[in-house]
């Protein structure tokens, strides 16, 4: 392939938002180059462990602790990381990053075609105006230049295409979407929902809204209730780039896909104040390559998109591309996340379940909405969790040997219920990404440096979440056995976002309301980097909606020759 590649658009990154950008732009008739830094993973063909049983795995699905210590020191902490899924996560040894003093940040990454769309938790929630209005109301961060009404039609479009199962609840803080039929609450959760709602009508335990199909959809099969999604799903039953957006983009005939392409710089022409293309390193041949385009979409994942902008500094942009404001890299966020309460749930011993539901239950935010009832914090928290039974692994914690012990472990174990809090993370300038000027990756590119700490607001929210979770599980008939009010390390929620925030003012934000760089009209950043606040529900659906909206705007600008 020659290196005079010219396209209408280049999309950097093939994960959740990159796939969407590629789909929307190619369907609009644009010739698109989609660059992915990782290896190619073909839908169905390359899901190597999908059908394996534990006894077919070298370490029975538990993984090699030695290997994990040397290669996956961070990734192994991801809740979806197992021996079955380890090939869908990066090697930390080969992809190092740095953290500042006092920063504890676990950066979970998947460098491969499809990115983290293969390993994501699939929880899909709309944001509301409590979220888009949060910064304006309490003064943290900068006001979002959009509101729910701007995004609602785009949420519709995304849900229609990816398929989201869920139950409509009519809650203003968590707008209903266009749902496929929901998975059912299990017997314990259904009882808990009723008891909690009777005591607190505003607290609504409902089934998680998840991008798993409960009905066949356009060539994708329905979910088989295996709940092993992160291995890859040959049924195409959950939304991933491979199952959903990539085939749509490829069907247009307008897509060029190059994998093993680690983009190192975006080219910028100071005369036109436009980007002209990107340069990358072919990680197989170690050769440097480039392509030009009329516009660039950054979808490398929040932190990597910021990294790329910082690394694209030039004489014209000494502090990084699209950074005349100086705020690039600042105000990064991740939900403050902890197990607020776990309880034993007696009274349901006569019941069990069949199948593995690919989602838990949730309790949407109910604090600090129209009444400011948060103690020490101004925003919200929500819960995810559910009721589950224990099994043989509980035997590790129990005394006993012999035939009676074996018989005991043969039965489904006692019911428990857990509530895990996700608290809104206030945007702060001190939480930021920079380039490390002394440490470089294997390609000689400065490593990313992360400074991050939760503050008083998040700690206060998690303290209240613990108290609330305890009283709710108790009201539901449970005996609470433990709970925490300290957040896990930054990154634990795997909702790292921000760093190229959207805002009204070019002096204090990187992107305008179209996810378009204030400084560079043909540069769009439509992954998590664009977020100006974090809300307390999962962000991926919003990233997708913003991507589709930005793509439509970009196409209209291109067609009117404005860019």
């Amino acid at each position: 392939m020659d290196d005079n590649l010219t396209f209408d658009a280049i999309v950097v990154g093939s994960g959740i938002t990159g796939g969407w950008a590629a789909k929307e732009l190619t369907e609009a008739g644009l010739k698109v180059l989609l660059l992915e830094r990782g290896r190619k993973i073909e839908h169905q063909l390359d899901y190597e462990t999908e059908m394996k049983a534990p006894w077919e795995m070298p370490f029975r699905g538990q993984g090699d602790t030695d290997l994990y210590a040397s290669e996956y020191a961070v990734q192994r902490l991801n809740r979806h990381f197992t021996e079955f899924t380890q090939n869908h996560f990066v090697s930390d040894a080969q992809n190092p990053y740095q953290t500042g003093d006092g920063t504890d940040f676990t950066w979970f990454r998947s460098y491969q075609l499809g990115g983290r769309s293969l390993t994501w938790g699939r929880q899909s929630y709309r944001w509301s105006d409590y979220d888009f209005g949060a910064n304006k109301r309490d003064g943290h961060g900068t006001d979002w230049p959009i509101r729910y009404a701007d995004l609602a039609p785009w949420y519709d479009r995304i849900e229609d295409f990816i398929g989201v199962s869920g139950a409509a609840e009519g809650l203003p803080q968590l707008p209903d979407g266009k749902f496929l039929p929901p998975f059912a609450l299990n017997v314990v959760e259904q009882a808990a929902r009723e008891k909690i709602m009777a005591a607190w009508p505003e607290r609504r335990l409902t089934i998680g809204r998840t991008a798993n199909l409960t009905q066949e959809k356009e060539g994708r099969g329905p979910c088989q209730s295996r709940s092993i999604c992160a291995r890859g799903c040959s049924y195409g039953a959950y939304f991933s780039t491979q199952s959903s957006t990539l085939p749509a983009a490829q069907a247009t005939g307008n897509l060029t896909l190059i994998t093993d392409a680690a983009v190192e710089k975006i080219d910028y022409d100071p005369k036109t104040r436009r980007v002209t293309g990107v340069r990358w390193i072919d990680s197989k041949t170690k050769t440097r390559r480039q392509a030009t385009a009329r516009m660039v979409f950054l979808n490398a994942g929040a932190f990597n998109s910021v990294h790329l902008l910082l690394n694209s500094a030039s004489e014209a942009n000494p502090n990084g591309l699209a950074n005349s404001s100086g705020v690039l890299g600042t105000h990064i966020m991740d939900h403050a996340n902890t197990l607020s309460a776990a309880a034993i749930m007696p009274g349901f011993e006569a019941w069990t379940t069949f199948g593995n539901r690919p989602t838990g239950a949730i309790i949407p935010r109910y604090r600090n909405m129209d009444v400011m009832d948060g103690v020490g914090h101004t925003r919200g928290f929500s819960f995810q969790g559910g009721a589950l039974q224990s099994t043989w692994t509980a035997g590790k914690r129990e005394a006993g040997i012999g035939a009676d012990y074996k018989r005991h472990l043969q039965k489904p174990g006692p019911w428990r219920m857990v509530l895990v809090a996700f608290a809104d993370c206030v945007p702060r300038a001190s939480n930021r990404l920079t380039l490390d000027r002394t440490k470089f990756d294997a390609n000689g590119i400065p490593q990313l440096h992360i400074d991050f700490a939760f503050g008083a607001e998040e700690h206060a929210a998690l303290a209240q979440a613990k108290a609330d979770a305890t009283e709710m599980l108790t009201k539901a008939g449970g005996h609470v056995i433990f709970g925490f009010d300290r957040p896990g390390a930054g990154g634990t929620a795997i909702h790292e976002m921000g760093g190229a925030r959207m805002g009204f003012d070019p002096a204090t934000s990187v992107l305008n309301k179209w996810s378009q760089a204030h400084d560079v009209a043909n540069l769009f950043v439509t992954d998590g980097a664009q977020m100006s606040s974090s809300a307390c529900q999962n962000p991926s659906l919003t990233y997708m909606a913003l991507t589709a909206r930005a793509a439509a705007h970009a196409v209209s600008l291109l067609k009117s020759s404005a860019i």
Binding site: R60, S225, I401, L409
Partner: protein, 199 residues
């Protein structure tokens, strides 16, 4: 840990033979330190112990199906935190490796004593039950037993017999039923991954 070497290959040969039916068995042993290659005595000890923890009933027990081989490999690779330094206790000193971790198998051998394998099964079971009780009462000198027992359970319930005959296994349930009555013959599902991971 040393890397792959001819010496470790030769030393591990007998275990390789045992694992040859398991895909990736050779890979498992790639990094096995020669010092961690179990002796015939150690393998007999672990097999006997595994069978006492999960005995043969209407399905084979953990020793009968060889879960002990998994335990020995897992101990060498540090599963269940077994390559982390143990609590400071003088009783562990004779079994510490150069990296500060405890050689759990050697510790168990020492703990049960030189004649344990020659005892009648009832006496073996009695002594092992006493060790188990001490460990779950929180006695430091018995604590390493919990990791060994955890690995016996893992070796058993993630084997084909343990996972699909002793328990049920259904990779593709095809549906989720939220409320199913428990009957006298109900068995748990080893493929209930949420229960396995978080239960």
């Amino acid at each position: 840990m040393t890397g792959w070497s001819r010496r470790s290959f030769l030393g591990a040969a007998s275990l390789v033979a045992l694992l040859s039916s398991a895909p990736g068995g050779a890979e498992v042993l790639r990094k096995l330190d020669p010092k961690d290659v179990p002796s015939p005595h150690m393998r007999k000890l672990m097999r006997t112990v595994a069978e006492l923890v999960i005995p043969t009933t209407d399905t084979p027990g953990a020793g009968a199906l060889g879960a002990d081989d998994f335990v020995l490999v897992a101990l060498a690779h540090g599963l269940e935190g077994t390559r982390k330094p143990p609590a400071a206790d003088p009783s562990f000193t004779p079994c510490l490796r150069a990296d500060g971790s405890l050689d759990h198998a050697a510790w168990l051998d020492g703990k049960l004593g030189p004649d344990w394998l020659t005892l009648p099964p009832a006496r073996q079971s009695e002594q092992l039950a006493a060790l188990d009780a001490s460990a779950y009462k929180g006695e430091t000198t018995a604590a390493p037993w919990r990791a060994i027992k955890a690995l016996i359970l893992t070796g058993y319930y993630t084997s084909e017999v343990g996972g699909s005959r002793e328990l049920n296994y259904e990779l593709v349930p095809g549906r989720f039923d939220p409320k199913v009555p428990v009957k006298p013959d109900t068995r748990a599902y080893s493929s209930d991954w949420t229960a396995v991971d978080f239960g």
